[in-house]
Amino acid sequence: MLKWVGVVLALLILAAALGLSVVAGSIRGAYGLVRYALPHMHRGTLRVGDDAPDASLLALDGSSRFHIRERTGARPLVIVFGSYT
């Protein structure tokens, strides 16, 4: 019985690895996805109609700061989050 449980578990792990490899493009990508991406990916709880959260941001000059809220009010604000890589 234990032997079959082990076989089934191994097959499930293999299927998961293969599935992640397809999504990430390679076995190495699957590792990167699990190790580095998934811990930082969150669906979040914000919904349309919620008050937009505020946060302090640093400007490109590296010294001055502003708040997201400072950029809202007169017109809608499109916010794009991202990085270089």
């Binding site: 990508g29 590792y31 990167g32 996805l33 190790r35 580095y36 991406a37 930082h40 990916m41 969150h42 669906r43 979040g44 709880t45 914000l46 919904r47 349309v48 109609g49 919620d50 008050d51 937009a52 959260p53 505020d54 946060a55 302090s56 941001l57 640093l58 400007a59 490109l60 590296g62 502003f66 997201i68 809220r69 950029r71 809202t72 009010g73 007169a74 017109r75 809608p76 604000l77 499109v78 916010i79 794009v80 989050f81 991202g82 990085s83 270089y84 890589t85």
Partner: protein, 140 residues
């Protein structure tokens, strides 16, 4: 996103927020970044974030207002932003559009549709800004 910015900047504010790197050299580096010479380690200091953000803006002559998230990742956490995400906040300070989590559900065309529904279809001359990591090359 650059093309959307060009099309709707007369109606709407745009703000790009730099958050932690998605594919740094010391984590999950992508071959495409090596080919494009976009190779950075994950910043450990705010100064390093500022330097990378400036490299990005200079390389692509990126036109929108730009802010950099703190090392505490406060903005990222508040908006569940990583690795990339789009929101639209209306004049009352409320979420009017909440984009999906990138990269698989990152769809700038949805933000464009929201803007088009409000201000009408706008399509100016195509952007001459190069491909970027905030959606320009994915825009349909």
């Amino acid at each position: 996103m650059v093309q959307i910015y060009k099309d709707y900047k007369d109606h709407t504010e745009f703000l790009t927020v730099y958050v932690r790197e998605a594919h740094p050299t010391d984590e999950w580096q992508m071959n495409s970044n090596v080919k494009e010479d976009v190779c950075y380690a994950q910043p450990k200091t705010l100064e390093q974030r500022v330097a990378i953000a400036n490299d990005f803006v200079k390389r692509f002559n990126y036109p929108t207002q730009f802010g950099i998230d703190d090392m505490s990742n406060a903005a990222n956490d508040a908006y569940a932003a990583w690795p990339e995400r789009i929101y639209i906040i209306d004049e009352r300070g409320r979420i009017a559009y909440r984009g999906g989590m990138g990269p698989f559900n990152y769809h700038p065309e949805e933000a464009r549709a929201w803007l088009a529904a409000r201000y009408g279809e706008v399509k100016r001359e195509a952007s001459t800004v190069g491909p970027d990591k905030t959606g320009a090359k994915r825009e349909k």
